[in-house]
């Protein structure tokens, strides 16, 4: 099964390279550039063929080292939850603002990873983000968009 997974990845890469090559051929170049020795589609076309070549070889040749992955011991649930939290964080950061979303992201991540020391969890989220934000925004003058803090008048 594990050998198959590497082969499946190679097959997926082969399909991806074929799609990439097809898309490379669809790149619209200027009429005067169509027959030039090098245009915007030349390099991607080489890459597409190279991708087909190497993934094709990987598919055909025997696997010298079998990679054994014991899926039973892998924490898919917690990893999945963390990814979902990160996606929600990414979706809300612009609308809600850096401070609140980042603090909530950190707090909820600590929680889902099994942490229950509430005071420490709080200190390493809200005050920590506030201090980090002050470093970036206040000291280094790096703009951080924050509609929430603007709405309550903390940020100009």
């Amino acid at each position: 099964m594990n050998i198959n997974t590497t082969k499946i990845i190679s097959l997926l890469f082969f399909i991806f390279s074929a799609f990439y090559l097809y898309t490379a051929y669809q790149i619209q170049v200027f009429a005067f550039d169509e027959n030039a020795p090098f245009n915007a589609r030349t390099f991607p076309i080489y890459l597409g063929y190279a991708g087909l070549f190497f993934s094709g070889l990987k598919l055909i040749l025997p696997e010298p080292n079998t990679i054994k992955v014991d899926h039973k011991n892998l924490e898919y649930k917690k990893t999945g939850i963390l990814i979902v939290i990160a996606i929600i964080y990414g979706a809300t950061i612009l609308k809600v603002g850096y401070f609140l979303t980042t603090s909530l992201f950190l707090f909820s991540s600590y929680y889902f990873l099994g942490e229950r020391r509430w005071v420490l969890m709080f200190l390493l989220s809200f005050p920590f983000v506030a201090a980090f934000m002050y470093l970036l925004h206040g000291i280094l003058d790096i703009y951080l968009r924050d509609p929430f803090l603007q709405s309550i008048g903390v940020m100009g």
Binding site: A36, P64, L74, G90, T102, L113
Partner: protein
């Protein structure tokens, strides 16, 4: 020349200037540790402040910030596997595994000493070879650069041990494919954007490196939490923070540093090549020259594997000043920002600077060097404390790594799409890592992709579509032959091992 050096030293060693370099080193280290904020950003942030001082003091402050940021970048590579700049990617290959084995302090100390030695040796090379090397750097043409990129990519041989060559090559192609997304640099035609405006400017380096290194590392740690084979080793804080380098490790470094510094310096002299190619090439070369026993340790916490890229990285930084100061051509993004600052001070770099104003030339070189000395004095005592970041429990460390990764992207682009893209790439990278697909070749290819296409384009256009440019010039041919030699040697060694 001696007179120029002495004037440079006198200027750099005043109390005010030493204080400036200390302040610069401190802030540079902090800024460099933050993902997405490398030396270039650090120097750019300092430019408005430096204009309040005289040119020498301003440059000295920038020198401190520069080396501080480079060291800060290495620190985040070693401790968190989160290289914020391309030049420190190779540092993480052995620095991070070493830190994971509870030797974070030692890894940081090796990095600090190697950087310092690389900088010192390259300063010596600079003393004797700056004027003549500027001519050499000008003799490089597009076919030579293209061949150099190919040579850089053969460094993947260093990461493709035990029959993993094809996996590494697939990662190289994937890296080049990712680099091809966005506007074509010459015609402005968009490629592989699928009408998504967010992809028009391409995918940023920080995004790819954060996704494939920091974020996927964090996800892998969570994923393998219950895996008995990857149970975390319990280490004491004393061991974690220890900066002692034993005799055997020192003797390894003595051999690695001189050869890596030469590679780093020579690559740094070439405009556009820079610290990234230098560090990858030094890593690859080091792996090829060490004995089989040491070779097995590469990627698992090898002293040579950490020392080589760190030395080359810093040597390349000094080397990149050759084209900037002697020709007025910035060799890298960082030197381009510094060139802007120099022009702001009314200093015009170029051949005349070295001839007519040697004192300014040497003041800059000396202030850069003093920046490195002060950095070592300041940061070595701090290493035991910095290394304790790894003692932070995983329940806190993992979310913090994810937070730094997302922040690094957010401050650069201010859009949700980049965050989603980063999470997507991180998930794919985590899955690929489970099946032993190496990430370093992907990053190297991604960094070199644009440059490679640009130089292939120029070469093919100049030769009217003929591939003869590959053997028309002796220099191109020599580089390509070296590349072939490395690949053949790699295969020969693997056959012998079987």
């Amino acid at each position: 020349m001696i007179e120029g050096i002495l004037i440079g030293l006198t200027t750099a060693l005043t109390l005010q200037n030493i204080l400036m370099v200390m302040v610069g080193c401190f802030f540079g280290t902090i800024i460099g540790m933050l993902p997405g904020l490398g030396p270039m950003t650090a120097i750019a942030l300092m430019i408005p402040i430096t204009y309040g001082f005289d040119p020498a003091t301003g440059l000295i402050l920038m020198a401190g910030v520069y080396y501080g940021a480079v060291f800060g970048g290495s620190t985040s590579s070693i401790l968190l596997n989160a290289p914020g700049v391309p030049g420190t990617v190779a540092t993480s290959f052995d620095g991070y595994p070493m830190a994971q084995q509870g030797k974070a302090g030692k890894a940081l100390a090796i990095a600090a000493w190697s950087s310092f030695a690389g900088g010192t040796l390259s300063a010596i090379y600079l003393l004797f070879m700056a004027p003549s090397l500027s001519k050499v750097s000008l003799s490089f043409r597009s076919p030579d650069y293209f061949a150099l990129m190919i040579l850089g990519l053969t460094a993947i041989a260093a990461f493709s041990s035990k029959g993993q060559f094809l996996k590494a090559m697939m990662m190289v192609i994937l890296g080049l494919m990712l680099a091809s997304v966005g506007q074509d640099s010459l015609s402005d035609i968009t490629r592989f954007t699928f009408d998504n405006m967010n992809l028009t400017d391409g995918i940023s380096f920080v995004l790819v490196v954060m996704a494939t290194f920091a974020m996927s590392e964090a996800l892998t740690i969570i994923l393998k939490r219950n895996d008995p084979t990857s149970a975390a080793k319990q280490v004491s804080l004393t061991e974690l923070g220890s900066i002692k380098i034993n005799k055997e490790e020192r003797s390894k470094m003595y051999k690695t540093i001189p050869r890596s510094s030469i590679i780093g310096f020579l690559i740094g002299v070439l405009p556009g090549a820079g610290a990234t190619i230098a560090s990858f090439l030094a890593y690859g070369m080091e792996r090829n020259v060490v004995n089989d026993e040491e070779k097995e340790k590469f990627g698992k916490g090898s002293v040579n594997g950490l020392s080589a890229p760190e030395t080359a990285n810093n040597a390349a930084c000094s080397g990149s000043f050759v084209p900037m100061l002697t020709l007025g051509i910035p060799g890298s993004g960082t030197t381009a920002v510094m060139l802007g600052a120099l022009l702001g001070f009314g200093v015009q770099p170029g051949p005349r600077l070295y001839m007519t104003n040697p004192e300014i030339f040497w003041s800059i070189i000396m202030s850069m060097y003093i920046g490195m000395v002060i950095l070592l004095i300041l940061n070595l005592p701090l290493i035991p404390y910095i290394a304790r970041i790894l003692a932070v429990p995983k329940n806190y460390l993992i979310p913090l790594i994810l937070f730094f990764s997302v922040t690094g992207i957010y401050v650069m682009s201010f859009n949700n799409f980049d965050i989603y893209l980063m999470i997507g790439i991180a998930v794919v990278a985590t899955f690929l890592r489970l099946y032993d697909f190496p990430m370093p070749p992907l990053i190297l290819a991604f960094v070199l992709g644009g440059l490679m296409e640009e130089n292939l384009r120029r070469s093919l256009l100049l030769s009217n579509g003929s591939w003869e440019f590959l053997w028309d010039r002796t220099l191109t041919l020599c580089i390509l032959l070296t590349t072939i030699l490395i690949v053949v040697w790699h295969f020969y060694k693997s056959i012998i091992r079987k």
